[in-house]
């Protein structure tokens, strides 16, 4: 499920990893090839290549502001952002999809955040409001954060640890249903709302759960060790809320700012106008340069018009970019081959991996599932979806932005990207299956209709009769999410919440989660895998854990074959010539607005 697009229920998550001690850790995540737009490279030779980098855990020294200056940048002007969809949530605690989180960077701050070097694109997790990424004790169950001095809200009110605690308490409120639930689950268990009903109940979480020994210190006591905590503290909801300005559910339309910009005007689905927050002190902020005086975020701009506007850059579109919307597939060949776009092109991996799920409760023989894997025409599907600029061929469950990525290819798909019907036939014969008839369900949109025809033709070569069923796209996830759905094959996507497979393998492959609406779409329920998930989650050395996740992913794919991965998604689009300092936030899979300036 992808959470990058609000019209499709999708999962965008970020990734996390940390050592119990605050030593620097490199996660071999593939990420931000850094700056683009002529500042630090970009598109690559064929205009569609993305690069692989790492996310490191920074030190206290890395967490000191101000942010690294962009060469040649200056303050002033209005930057424009074109968004395909409206913003569903402005309340940072409700933000989950990457669009909400990346726009939230402009008006909300968290305990930690990703510092992106505008020259190299190197991504480092650092303390944002906090002085560092956290100190752990009690075997990783307790995490302590100290707030930097001089932090204030948009009205000049100082930020205190009590407000951070209040921010965490709000996560328990009954209206906070859309945001990530890691922290509250880690603090109070799966039934966290039964343990505590939020600050509006008149009660506060006891010190044994969250303590604030002084105005600048906050101590989180988890039920179990959570080495990923520094990354979870970079999620949008891991920040303070000022009780006097808390309007409960209505905060979702008008949050109070502690970031470089405050909300000047918001018309849902139409426009979000941000102007400079005079009380934001850049000396406290290692992440945000905040060069433009204003951000004018235009919402609900349909494709392909959005891409066309960025390509043509008429009027103020010269100073425009699309933080999360990749180019329309119809325009990508033109952009990829046009020399005039090269200097303002961004082509980077996103955290999303797209797969075709094989319903293992219906297709029970793994040899049949492997036959489908061999017969699958991944190259044709990639072409039907817009080609390499939209995404690279995927052969693994874990994408290139995640720690431990190795691009395993157990079925040799890259050697036979058009499918190997002979091998598929052989496996079906071994399984004793003749006249195999399967049902493929797809969202009733033009591109998925094309893919349906592509699959039908490729599977027919392997002797598989693929029946296709179109589902109204608004009902798609509801229907394929049902345990007893009548389909054998259906597509979903998944993005890591932070660059660790802890946010990929357990939610998509743990058979104990199977229920209507859960995210183990293939209904895999392998006792070995379930036990392995429990084992790997307990590993506190994140480098070691990353290796173990990768091994488990390879085991699942090779032995259970519950899904057919086919694409590592990419952000691929141009921005206006009038903008500089355009860098990329790989954990969020979006342009990083923090370094952008208007030329």
């Amino acid at each position: 499920m992808r959470l990058r697009n609000s019209t499709a229920r999708t999962a965008r998550a970020r990734c996390g990893a940390a050592l119990l001690a605050a030593t620097a850790l490199t996660l071999s995540a593939c990420s931000a090839g850094g700056g683009t737009g002529g500042d630090t490279g970009g598109g690559g030779a064929d205009g569609a290549k993305a690069s692989v980098q790492s996310v490191t855990l920074g030190t206290a020294a890395d967490s000191v502001g101000p942010a690294t200056a962009v060469a040649g940048a200056h303050k002033g002007g209005t930057a424009y952002d074109l968004e395909q969809n409206g913003i569903n949530h402005l309340d940072p605690a409700q933000a989950y999809i990457n669009q909400e989180q990346i726009i939230g960077q402009l008006f909300s701050r968290q305990l930690t955040n990703y510092r992106i070097d505008p020259r190299t694109g190197k991504t480092t997790l650092v303390g944002d409001l906090a002085t560092d990424t956290g100190e752990s004790s009690d075997g990783g169950r307790t995490w302590t954060y100290h707030l930097k001095p001089g932090l204030t809200w948009q009205d000049g009110t100082p930020i205190t640890s009590a407000q951070v605690k209040y921010g965490f308490e709000r996560l328990y409120a009954s209206f906070e249903t859309a945001g990530p639930q890691y922290v509250q689950t880690w603090l109070s268990g799966q039934d966290f709302r039964k343990a505590y009903q939020g600050p509006y109940s008149g009660k506060s979480l006891p010190d044994s759960v969250i303590a604030t020994p002084d105005n600048r210190t906050i101590v989180l006591h988890f039920l179990a060790p959570h080495p990923d905590t520094p990354y979870a503290m970079a999620l949008s909801g891991s920040g303070p809320v000022l009780p006097a300005k808390d309007t409960e559910a209505k905060y979702d339309s008008a949050p109070f700012s502690d970031g470089p910009y405050e909300i000047a005007d918001y018309q849902p689905g139409k426009q979000l106008l941000l102007r400079r927050n005079p009380h934001w002190d850049p000396r406290t902020d290692p992440v945000r340069d905040a060069y433009p005086d204003e951000w004018d975020i235009e919402l609900g701009i349909a494709q392909p018009g959005l891409t066309e506007r960025l390509m043509q850059q008429a009027g103020h579109d010269k100073d425009a970019l699309a933080l999360v919307a990749p180019a329309d597939p119809t325009q990508t060949p033109l952009i990829a081959t046009g020399a005039q776009y090269r200097s303002r092109l961004v082509s980077q991996y996103q955290p999303f991996v797209d797969v075709f799920n094989i319903n293992t409760s219906r297709v029970k023989d793994e040899r049949v599932r492997q036959a489908l894997m061999y017969a699958f025409p991944m190259r044709q599907v990639q072409t039907a979806l817009g080609g390499a600029p939209q995404g690279d061929l995927a052969t693994d469950l874990i994408g290139p932005t995640v720690a431990g990525f190795q691009a395993a290819d157990p079925f040799g798909k890259l050697a036979e990207p058009n499918g190997d019907p002979a091998k598929a036939k052989e496996l079906l014969k071994q399984a004793g299956v003749t006249h195999l008839k399967l049902t493929y369900a797809y969202a009733d949109e033009a591109r998925w209709q094309t893919v349906a025809r592509t699959l039908q033709s490729a599977f027919a070569k392997a002797g598989i009769d693929l029946q296709t069923t179109a589902i109204d796209s608004t009902s798609y996830y509801t229907l394929v999410g049902k345990v007893n759905n009548p389909y054998d094959l259906y597509r979903t996507g998944w993005g890591a919440d932070w660059p660790s497979a802890s946010t990929v393998i357990p939610p998509t492959m743990d058979g104990r989660l199977i229920a209507d609406g859960d995210t183990d779409y293939a209904h895999l329920n392998d006792p070995y895998v379930n036990a392995a998930i429990d084992r790997v989650e307990k590993i506190t050395d994140l480098s070691q854990q990353a290796v173990q996740w990768q091994q488990l992913a390879q085991y699942i794919l090779k032995n259970d074959t519950p899904v057919i991965p086919y694409e590592y998604d990419k952000y691929f689009n141009v921005h206006g010539d009038g903008l500089g300092g355009v860098t990329y936030n790989s954990p969020l899979g979006a342009i990083n607005p923090n370094t952008v300036y208007v030329k």
Binding site: M1, L3, S6, T7, R9, T10, A11, A13, N85, G86, I87, N88, H89, Y96, I97, S174, F175, T177, A178, G179, P180, Q181, Q190, D191, R193, E248, A249, K250, D252, S253, Q267, P268, G269, K270, E298, L299, G300, I301, A302, G305, L306, E308, R309, Q312, A314, G315, D472, T474, S475, Y477, T478, L479, G481, D497, P507, A515, D516, G517, D518, T519
Partner: protein
Amino acid sequence: MLRFLVRRLLGAVVILALISALTYLLFFTLPSDPALLSCGKNCTPANVALIHHNLGLDKPVPVQYGEYMAGIFTGRRLPLGNCPAPCFGLSFANDAPVWTILSSRYPTTLSLAVGGAAVFLTVGVGLGLVSAWTRGSLFDRLASSVSLMGQSVQIYFIGPLAIYLLVDRLRWLDPGADPDWSHDPAGAVGGLVLPCLVMSVIFWSNYSRQTRSLMIEQLAEEHVRTARAKGMGRGYVFFRYALRGAMGPIVTLFGIDLGSVFGGAIITETTFGLHGLGQLAVAAVTQTDLPLEMGVMLFSSCAIVLFNVVIDASYAFIDPRVRLL
């Protein structure tokens, strides 16, 4: 006249009630669950149940409908906050009051509809009149051909073409933009010119053809011939006698087309990146946002129904033979 208006307005209320009930029921015939669109990765049964409660979907459908309709007049207290009258609910997608969203959107659609109608009536009827006046001439034949072409094209075809030529290449016109009449009236006009022109193309051709044939028909009528025989000037008879006779069917056509104008607004707004009720309707449907769907549907239906009452009433002025009962 008063009796006519009261009767028509009461009829309008019944129509709107039927439309609202049908929209509400249709929503629940789809298998999609709005809670699954907003729970993201947290679609545990407990979280989904909580979202159902927050959205009011845990009540029986007739109760939900009754509360929704009553809320329009009385306001409501919802799990996600107060919603003062006129309460069209809170958007499932972004929790904002639907009335606030509608209020920020209708000026665009209204401007587009008025501007577009002004263009297609002026150009369409004008071309039809000139064609009828110069029947059989080169102009008449050319106008007929152009009208036929106009009738054959679609907004989503000529829209991008017009943007490419007139905005991106020649830079003669501004790209489409939402009007801000109170702060930037000049900019509002500039941003509407192209969308109104493009939207009008698919309509004016019909008016031009209709006007031409109606005028030719009228000019062959006996009362017109009599007027001419009595020595009245050609121009006088053309406008005073023939045009008046042709106006009735044209106004009827305009009344019927109003629904299409709103339909055309969906495509026009999407093509030009405008934020009106049409674009809102698409967003509401794709996000299975029931309160927003209801709000847009009721708002648009209300506008169309009321406008048709006005059109019907206008017959009395166009044709004195019509008595409104």
